[in-house]
């Protein structure tokens, strides 16, 4: 038992003893004891009242008696109050700092609960998303940001951010990311990417315009070169250089064609069309084209499925053709190339496996960059524009498909296009 309690009991007994002694003196022990107890209870109530005030109002009432339970309790309450006041002040300061710093962030941040109702947002959200402080806490974010793409994106966010126009100003572009955390809460971050989007568009327009402008002079040069090759008056020594020039003009034309195709794929915002595409026909065409080459490469077509695809015919053709021609170019004579078309209940896959030179693991993520060369010295000699895989990637993206690359250096590579179920037509559906 704490000492203050012992002391309190001691005071009680002393008081009762005093009352008993007083009772003996006036010859009314029982009455005196009752009176003494009443006084004691009254005193206790008074102390309780003081304590109550100390707790609720923070008033410190100095008692007459400075020993025992009550003064100590009072001091304790006072200290607790002071401490909690300090803590509160610290919290308030911290909260103000957090609020100021999040307010100073240029990106809009909105916290949502499981029902997508707004729990909190910062100042940039007012500017970028058009939320208002007076009305919007507790409202569903989709009801205020009604863009259908955003409404579809919010419940199932992908890794890459969504780019939409700001609801406040249409010219402002926002990149929106949704980060789930905690118990089904999520943080929505919107960043102003107007500048980047414009830059990207300028770059795309520039490439497209430049390619178009270069194409016509190149056609003229190519035309004259074709005529010159058959010119008999020209000395024999010019024949070699002329043929080389024709080859290079063809190569440049091909690069320009690929660049234009790539910009077209990049700038198309809509997904590819849903026309029926016969994969078997496409592969048949590619097969016969390679069969007439001299020497024909060791190509093996393994068509395990008669499924077709829904998409753009030219795009799918260029995907398959690019992958096969890459394999042919990077497989030394004697190597073998397997082309497989198969489908399952989850979708369909087109894969090209070669026994070529292979690719180092750290190079794989960069393969689809335009003009990226694994080995600049070697691959330019093998032809190709350096844009093939970039075209493949973008064309697949437009079909909601993706490219998987596996490779072991020196042993060969496998390129696999995986198409989702929505894009696959099984034989019986097609009929």
């Amino acid at each position: 038992m704490p000492r203050r309690w012992i002391r309190q009991f001691f005071i009680l007994f002393a008081w009762l003893g005093l009352a008993a002694a007083f009772g003996l003196w006036i010859d009314a022990v029982a009455w005196s004891m009752v009176g003494g107890l009443l006084l004691y209870v009254g005193h206790m109530l008074f102390r309780l009242y003081q304590l109550d005030r100390a707790i609720t109002e923070g008033v410190r009432v100095p008692g007459l008696i400075t020993v025992g339970l009550w003064p100590e309790l009072q001091a304790k309450v006072y200290n607790l109050r002071r401490k909690s006041r300090e803590r509160k002040r610290r919290h308030l300061r911290l909260r103000r700092e957090v609020r100021e710093s999040t307010g100073a962030i240029a990106d809009a941040g909105v916290i949502l609960n499981a029902a997508h109702e707004i729990v909190w947002f910062n100042r940039a959200a007012i500017r970028l998303l058009g939320l208002t402080e007076a009305h919007d806490v507790g409202r569903r974010l989709e009801n205020l940001l009604r863009n259908p793409e955003f409404v579809a994106y919010l419940p199932s966010p992908r890794e890459e951010p969504l780019i939409i126009a700001s609801p406040v100003e249409r010219d402002r572009m926002l990149s929106i990311q949704v980060i789930p955390y905690g118990l089904e809460q999520s943080l929505v971050i919107a960043r102003d990417v107007t500048g980047q989007v414009q830059l990207e568009r300028t770059r795309r327009d520039f490439v497209a315009n430049a390619s178009h402008e270069l194409r016509s002079p190149l056609t003229v040069i190519g035309g004259y070169l074709d005529a010159l090759v058959f010119e008999e008056e020209l000395s024999r020594s010019w024949q070699g250089p002329l043929h080389e020039m024709v080859r290079q003009v063809q190569r440049m034309t091909q690069i320009l064609r690929d660049l234009i195709e790539l910009t077209r794929l990049e700038s198309a915002e809509e997904p590819a069309s849903f026309d029926f595409v016969s994969v078997i026909d496409i592969l048949g065409r590619i097969k016969s084209e390679y069969a007439s080459r001299k020497p024909p490469p060791d190509l093996h077509f393994d068509i395990r499925s008669d499924s077709g695809l829904l998409g753009g015919e030219t795009e799918i053709h260029s995907v398959f053709y690019n992958l096969i021609s890459n394999a042919v170019r990077f497989t030394p004579p004697g190597g073998r190339i397997d082309v497989v078309w198969s489908s399952s209940t989850d979708g369909a896959a087109f894969s090209v496996r070669d026994t070529g030179i292979g690719i180092a693991a750290e190079q794989i993520p960069r393969l689809t960059e335009r003009f990226y060369r694994v080995d600049p010295g070697r691959s330019r000699g093998t032809g190709g524009t350096g844009l093939g895989l970039a075209i493949v990637k973008h064309a697949l993206q437009r079909h909601e498909a993706h490219l998987e690359i596996e490779s072991v250096e020196g042993e060969g590579s496998t390129f696999r296009c995986v198409f989702p179920n929505d894009r696959v037509v099984r034989r019986k559906d097609a009929v």
Binding site: R139, R140, E142, N143, L144, R146, P148
Partner: protein
């Protein structure tokens, strides 16, 4: 009014039903806004593909209207809502009709823009139409915001803003008449652009209607065919229910 306007029902699923149908109205609104934006974009950029796409996609708006209509009928039949809930359902039923018509006007703008894309364009590239479209776009956006926030005050602001749109429409019409008198060869093109102006003006009217339903939903007062001053006086004295 609290944020959870419908949080006072004993039946939780009733609350959820009401909330769901209100959310789908706003989702439909989002789609209509997108259709409108695209239609205007196809006019500004002479993008006939986009214009035709808008016309093709109108069925989505119609489909949503039918779905919401059915949902409202179901709630009316099974829950027999009263007071503010009944007002909500009635307002929603009227709102989706107007939204669907906004969708139809957007479809028409898309179609005409696709036609205009292949014709000679005036040197201003239809600046007056784009201006009008910007006003109407703000109106449409503000209307749906007011609906989402049950904000009668800003709904009234939008009702007032409709006059500006009407004035602008008048001006464009006069301008078009002048153009037609100056150059009879341009008549068919100018006629087309008056159709677009007409559609934009109609969209403004539909927004105004929806705003009136918002006021009805919040205050229980029908403010159609009433002078604005009287409306404001009536609303300021009525307790929010």
């Amino acid at each position: 009014m609290d944020v959870d306007e419908f949080g006072h029902h004993i039946s939780r699923s009733f609350n959820e039903d009401l909330e769901k149908v209100r959310n789908s109205v706003l989702a439909m609104g989002g789609l209509v806004e997108q259709q409108f934006d695209r239609a205007v974009e196809s006019l500004a950029n002479a993008d006939s593909d986009l214009g035709l796409k808008v016309a093709r996609d109108d069925y989505k708006v119609n489909r949503m209207e039918v779905a919401i209509d059915e949902e409202c009928s179901r709630i009316l039949a099974t829950r027999s809502p009263a007071a503010s809930d009944l007002r909500l359902i009635i307002a929603i039923l009227k709102t989706i009709t107007d939204l669907e018509r906004v969708g139809d006007e957007a479809e028409r703008i898309g179609e005409i823009s696709a036609q205009l894309a292949s014709q000679e364009r005036p040197s201003t590239n239809y600046r007056e139409l784009r201006n009008l479209a910007r006003h109407v776009k703000d109106m449409l956006h503000g209307t749906l915001d007011a609906f989402a926030r049950l904000d009668a005050a800003s709904a009234l602001e939008i009702v007032k803003a409709d006059d500006i749109v009407d004035d602008e429409y008048e001006t464009i019409n006069r301008q078009c008449i002048t153009f037609m008198m100056e150059d009879p060869r341009a008549i068919s093109r100018v006629l087309d652009s008056t159709w677009i102006a007409r559609s934009l003006e109609r969209i403004g009217d539909h927004c105004k209607n929806i705003c009136e339903y918002v006021v009805f939903m919040v205050h229980g007062k029908d403010i159609r065919y009433t002078k604005l001053g009287e409306v404001e006086a009536a609303i300021s004295t009525s307790p929010r229910s």
